[in-house]
C-alpha cells in the first residue's frame, strides 16, 4: 500500500509538501456547509419546494394534460405547464461546457446543438424532466401534486442503440440537427464521415507487417455517483434574482440566468460554497431546472428550493463511445498508422459527443499519438432514447485510451515484444525529442513498482495450473492540461488581503469539490508571501463564492485550479510588497524605490538598520488592510506535455469468473507537485472510479421500455473499502511547463488508463480480450465457455 515519497525537483517552503488538506478539520467535523445546509428552511422562512415531472416513458408526447386537481391541492403554490406561453417563449438551450465556453448562448460556445427546451411537451428518455412543474409547501406535497396531474400520452417505441436509431420505425428525435435520421450533423464538411486525416493510412495498411483490429465500447453505463445531489434555491423577486446552488461555477450560473431570463447581471446574485464532489457533472444548459424554478418562484412569490433525489441524480452518463480501430506496425515494432471509426451513441439529447468521437483524436494527434505518422478518423453519432451522455471525469481520454492501448498490447504480442517497449517507441508528444523522456520515466518507475520483470506471456499464464490465473497489464496516456492548453478558460483572478494582525485573507475563488485546489492555493500564497513570514496556518481561504461581491471564480475542471491560481500569486505578492514600500516610505523618509521587504520588515536597501516592521506599517494611522488583486492572462508558451502510466496486477478465477485486482500502480509526471498529499489522494481516488468502471459500475436497461433499471446507489455498484485494492501512487517531476511552477493537471488524468491496464492484465491472465465494460464474472465465464 505504501509507496515512497516523491523527490521534489525544486526545494520549496510549502508548495509540494505532504501536509493535511487546509479544510480537513471543517470537513471531518461536519462544519463545511453544503447546499442542503445553507438552504435550511429556518434561513428562508417562506421557502417552498419545487419539483418537475420525470417522464415515465422513454419516447412519448403529451396529448392532453389536466392539472386541475394538482392546482386545487391545498399547499400548492404554483403549477407551471409545458404549454405556458412564457415558458414556450424561452430560447432553446444546449449542453455547455466550461472548457469550450461559459454558457449555451455565448458566442464562442462550441456545442451549438440547441436541442433542449425548458419543460418540453415530449420526452426523449425515461426520466426526462418535462411536462409540468410544481411548487408546494413540502416535498411530499410536490410529489402528491405531480401524481395528481392527469396525462394522456402518445407513446412511441424506445430505441437504445445507434443501429436501431436509423431503422424505418425509429422516431426522428431531432430532425433539424441531423444529416439523416438521428445522425447528428457534426462540425465540419466530411466526406464519408472522415473528420480527420494525416499521413497516408492506406499506405500504412498496405505496407504493414502486422495489423490488429479492435472494436471497443466505453461509456453509456457509468455515471457520476456523487453524494451531494444537484440543486438550487432561487428567489426571483421583482427585478432581482438570488440563487444558492452547489453548481461548481457561480459565474456560469449567473450568466446562464441572465441569458435566459433577461435580468441584468448586476441584479443576479449566485452563491455557492463547498460541493460534495462533481466528477464532471453540471454543465449549464443541460440543467433546465434553474430556469423552471425561477419561474415557479416568480409565480409563487416565494423562494423555491429544488434538490434532486437519488434517481434524478442519474441524469447523464459517461458518453457512450465505440471505436473500431485498425493499427498497423512494422516488424521492428514501429506503429505506422491507425484507421479509426468513432461512433457515438447519444441519449435523448446532445452530450459533448464530438469530443469523444472527433476532437479527442485530433487533439491526441498532437499529444500521445503524435509520433504515429498516419491517422484517419471517421466520426458519427446518433440520437437514441438513452439517458443523455455528458461530461464525466476523464471524458474522451478514457474512451480513446481503451482501444489504443489494447491494440498496442496486441501489436506487442504479435511481434513478441514487451508492451512497455512498444509504448516507449511509439508514443509521445509533438514538441519533445523521441523517445519521450517523461513517458519513459513514468513507465520505468511504474514497471519497477508493479514487478513487471515477473510478467509472463498470456500463453504461459493460460497454460499454467490452478484455477486462479495471474496477469499484468499496462497502459499510458498524456496528462492534461498544461497552462498553454487552458487558453479557452480565459483570465484568472486572485487577491490577497493582509490584515492588521498580519493574518492573510486569500481570495482565490473556486468551488471546492474535493479537487483540492484550495489547499494548493494556500500553500502557494504562503510561499509567495514568505517575505512577510506568512505560513499556511496564517492564511484563510474564502470558501464561499458570491457573485455580488467576489472575484470571478475559476471552475475546478481539468484539475487546473491547483496551479493556474498559484501562478498568479507571485505577481500578487509583488503588488503587496509595493504597497508596503509605498506606505513605509512616509514613515522612513525614503523613496519607495530605495526600500525592500523581508522578514516582515520594510528596510532601506544598503542600510537595513533603517527599518520598520510590516505590522507597524499596518497599524499606522488607519489599520486599512494591504490589498492586492491580479487578473492574469494565461502564459501561452508552448511547453509540450507530460505523461502517466498505469500498471495492473490481477488474478482471474476461471471457476467463478471473478477478477481480483491485486495491485494498481500509477506513475504521473506532473511537472511540479503542488500539494503532495492532495495529489496522491487524487491518484488513489481516481482508481476507485476506474476499477469501478472496469468491474462493477453498470446501468442496466430494460430494452423493451428503455428504462435504466438501477438508478439508485444500492443497485448501481460503486467501489467501497471492501473492494478497493492495494494502489501505489507515484509522482514524478520530469517535464516542466512555463511559469513559476510549470505544473500540469493530475486529478482528471489519473483516471485515464486504469480500465485499459486492467483489461490488458486480464488478457495476460486468461488470454481473452473484452470489448465492453464492466468485465463482470458472467462475461468472463461466458467467454471462457465459448473458447472451450
Amino acid at each position: 500500500m505504501k509507496a515512497a515519497a516523491y523527490r521534489p525537483r525544486t526545494e520549496r517552503k510549502y508548495v509540494g509538501s505532504y501536509s493535511p488538506k487546509i479544510d480537513a478539520a471543517e470537513k471531518t467535523l461536519g462544519k463545511v456547509r453544503f447546499f442542503q445546509d445553507v438552504t435550511l428552511n429556518g434561513m428562508f422562512p417562506n421557502t417552498v419546494y419545487g419539483g418537475i415531472l420525470q417522464s415515465p416513458y422513454a419516447n412519448a408526447s403529451i396529448a392532453r394534460m389536466d392539472t386541475g386537481k394538482a392546482e386545487a391541492l391545498p399547499g400548492v403554490r404554483a403549477v407551471l405547464r409545458y404549454d405556458d406561453p412564457e415558458i414556450r417563449a424561452l430560447k432553446p438551450t444546449t449542453h455547455s461546457w466550461t472548457d469550450t465556453a461559459i454558457t449555451p448562448l455565448h458566442r464562442d460556445t462550441l456545442p451549438r446543438f440547441f436541442d433542449r427546451v425548458f419543460l418540453p411537451g415530449s420526452a426523449k428518455w425515461l426520466g426526462d424532466q418535462m411536462g409540468v412543474a410544481v411548487a408546494a409547501d413540502t416535498p411530499e406535497l410536490v410529489r402528491e401534486a405531480l401524481a395528481l396531474v392527469e396525462i394522456e400520452w402518445e407513446l412511441r417505441p424506445a430505441f437504445l442503440e445507434a443501429e436501431e436509431a436509423v431503422l424505418p420505425g425509429a422516431t426522428d428525435l431531432h430532425p433539424g440537427l441531423c444529416d439523416s435520421k438521428n445522425k447528428i450533423r457534426l462540425h465540419g464538411d466530411f466526406v464519408d464521415d472522415v473528420s480527420f486525416e494525416k499521413g497516408d493510412v492506406d499506405r500504412a495498411r498496405a505496407e504493414a507487417d502486422v495489423a490488429v483490429h479492435v472494436d471497443k465500447v466505453y461509456g453509456g453505463n457509468a455515471s457520476h455517483g456523487t453524494l451531494d445531489f444537484r440543486g438550487c434555491l432561487i428567489h426571483w423577486d421583482g427585478g432581482r434574482i438570488d440563487c444558492w446552488t452547489n453548481q461548481y461555477y457561480t459565474d456560469q450560473t449567473r450568466m446562464y440566468l441572465h441569458e435566459y431570463l433577461d435580468v441584468p447581471i448586476n441584479r443576479i446574485r449566485v452563491v455557492n460554497g463547498h460541493c460534495g464532489a462533481h466528477m464532471g457533472k453540471w454543465n449549464m444548459g443541460e440543467d433546465g431546472y434553474y430556469i423552471v424554478m425561477a419561474f415557479l418562484s416568480k409565480r409563487s412569490g416565494r423562494p423555491v428550493k429544488y434538490r434532486m433525489d437519488v434517481h434524478e441524480e442519474f441524469h447523464d452518463t459517461r458518453n457512450y463511445t465505440r471505436f473500431e480501430m485498425d493499427m498497423f506496425a512494422k516488424s521492428d515494432g514501429t506503429i505506422t498508422g491507425m484507421d479509426i471509426v468513432g461512433t457515438g451513441t447519444l441519449g435523448g439529447y446532445y452530450g459533448p459527443i464530438e469530443y469523444n468521437v472527433q476532437f479527442i483524436v485530433e487533439e491526441s494527434a498532437g499529444r500521445v499519438l503524435a509520433p504515429i505518422d498516419s491517422l484517419r478518423l471517421r466520426s458519427r453519432a446518433y440520437f437514441t432514447n438513452r439517458m443523455p451522455g455528458g461530461v464525466m471525469r476523464g471524458i474522451g481520454n478514457l474512451q480513446l485510451c481503451w482501444p489504443v492501448f489494447q491494440a498496442s498490447d496486441m501489436v506487442a504480442e504479435a511481434l513478441g515484444m514487451d508492451p512497455v517497449d512498444i509504448i516507449k517507441k511509439n508514443f509521445g508528444d509533438a514538441w519533445s525529442p523521441r523517445p519521450n523522456a517523461s513517458l519513459a520515466a513514468v513507465l520505468d518507475r511504474g514497471a519497477e513498482l508493479i514487478g513487471w520483470e515477473q510478467r509472463r506471456s498470456a500463453a504461459d499464464n493460460a497454460a499454467g495450473g490452478g484455477y486462479r490465473k495471474r496477469g499484468l497489464g499496462v497502459a499510458a496516456w498524456n496528462q492534461w492540461h498544461a497552462e498553454w492548453q487552458e487558453n479557452a478558460r480565459g483570465r484568472v483572478e486572485v487577491a490577497f488581503r493582509i490584515n492588521p494582525d498580519m493574518s492573510v485573507t486569500l481570495i482565490s475563488p473556486t468551488c471546492e469539490t474535493g479537487a483540492g485546489g484550495n489547499s494548493a492555493c494556500v500553500l502557494a500564497c504562503a510561499e509567495s508571501l514568505s517575505f512577510l513570514n506568512v505560513t499556511p496556518d496564517d492564511v484563510h481561504w474564502v470558501p464561499v463564492n458570491d457573485s455580488d461581491t467576489g472575484l470571478r471564480d475559476c471552475p475546478p475542471t481539468d484539475s487546473v485550479v491547483s496551479f493556474l491560481m498559484p501562478e498568479a500569486m507571485p505577481e500578487c505578492a509583488e503588488k503587496i510588497k509595493d504597497e508596503f514600500r509605498r506606505r513605509a516610505a512616509l514613515m522612513l523618509g525614503a523613496d519607495p524605490s530605495e526600500l525592500d521587504v523581508d522578514d516582515a520588515k520594510v528596510f532601506v536597501k544598503g542600510d537595513p538598520s533603517r527599518s520598520v516592521s510590516c505590522w507597524s506599517v499596518m497599524m499606522d494611522v488607519d489599520c486599512v488592510p494591504v490589498y492586492a488583486h491580479v487578473t492574469r492572462d494565461n502564459n501561452k508558451t508552448v511547453t509540450g506535455i507530460s505523461f502517466g502510466a498505469w500498471f495492473a496486477d490481477v488474478e482471474v478465477d476461471v471457476e467463478t469468473g471473478e477478477i481480483d485486482v491485486r495491485h494498481v500502480v500509477l506513475a504521473n509526471d506532473v511537472g511540479q507537485v503542488m500539494h503532495a498529499s492532495g495529489a496522491e489522494s487524487q491518484q488513489l481516488g481516481a482508481q476507485a472510479l476506474g476499477i469501478g468502471e472496469a468491474l462493477t459500475e453498470d446501468l442496466v436497461y430494460d430494452r423493451r421500455t428503455g428504462a435504466a433499471l438501477n438508478r439508485n446507489y444500492l443497485d448501481y455498484k460503486m467501489l467501497t473499502s471492501a473492494d478497493y485494492p492495494e494502489v501505489s501512487p507515484c509522482l514524478l517531476e520530469v517535464w516542466r511547463g512555463a511559469g513559476e511552477y510549470g505544473a500540469i493537471g493530475l486529478a482528471e488524468s489519473a483516471t485515464a488508463g486504469t480500465t485499459t491496464a486492467i483489461a490488458n492484465a486480464v488478457y495476460n491472465a486468461i488470454g481473452i480480450r473484452f470489448d465492453t465494460l464492466p468485465i463482470t464474472p458472467k462475461k468472463v465465464l461466458d467467454a471462457l465457455a465459448s473458447r472451450g
Binding site: K2, K21, A24, G225, L227, V310, S721
Partner: protein, 168 residues
C-alpha cells in the same frame, strides 16, 4: 397531555411534541438536521446505501435516514457535532498526510459518517486489524475514493486511543 419524543443528543436532553414539533413518520436524520440544526449529519441516498447519515445510537452506529425518529425514544444519540479537533478519531482523519496514503477525504461530504462508524467500531473493538476496519467501513461510499487514507486514519486513531488519547 402531549405525547413527547425524548432522547439525548450529544449529552443534552431533547423533548419534542409528537404531531407538532415532529411527526411520527419523520426520519431521525431529518429531525437531527432540520429540527435540531445538526447539519454534520449528511443525507444523500436516503436508501441506506451510502452511509453518510451515520450516527451513534447508544454507542452503536446506525443509519439515521433509515429509522424513524420515534424509534429513538429514550436513546442516547451521538452525532459528529459531539467531537472536536482533539477527538482521536477526528484528529487522525484531519491529519492524514502520510506518503502513499493520500488524505482521508477530498470533498468531505461522507467524512462525518466514516468518523461515526470508526467510533462505533473502536468502541467495540479497540485494536482492529486492517481487514476488520475495511469491513467495518464497507457500508460507506466515498466517491472521491479515499479508502487508503480512511483506513489508515482509523488505524492511527486506534493507536492514539491505545496510548490513552483523549476522548477514548
Amino acid at each position: 397531555m402531549d405525547e413527547r419524543l425524548s432522547f439525548t443528543v450529544n449529552g443534552q436532553g431533547v423533548s419534542l411534541v409528537l404531531g407538532k414539533d415532529v411527526e411520527a413518520s419523520d426520519r431521525l436524520s431529518s429531525v437531527l438536521r432540520d429540527r435540531l440544526g445538526l447539519t454534520g449529519v449528511r443525507v444523500a441516498c436516503e436508501q441506506g446505501a451510502c452511509g453518510a447519515c451515520t450516527v451513534l445510537l447508544d454507542g452503536r452506529s446506525v443509519l439515521s435516514c433509515m429509522m424513524f425518529a420515534a424509534d429513538a425514544q429514550g436513546c442516547d444519540i451521538t452525532t459528529i457535532e459531539a467531537y472536536g479537533r482533539d477527538d482521536p478519531v477526528a484528529a487522525s482523519f484531519i491529519e492524514m498526510a502520510e506518503p502513499g496514503y493520500g488524505t482521508a477525504m477530498q470533498c468531505g461530504f461522507c467524512t462525518p459518517g466514516f468518523v461515526m462508524e470508526a467510533h462505533g467500531l473502536l468502541r467495540e473493538n479497540p485494536d482492529p486489524t486492517r481487514e476488520e476496519i475495511r469491513d467495518a467501513v464497507s457500508g460507506h461510499i466515498c466517491r472521491c475514493g479515499c479508502y487508503h487514507g480512511i483506513i489508515r486514519a482509523v488505524e492511527n486513531a486506534a493507536a492514539r486511543m491505545g496510548e490513552g488519547g483523549a476522548g477514548a
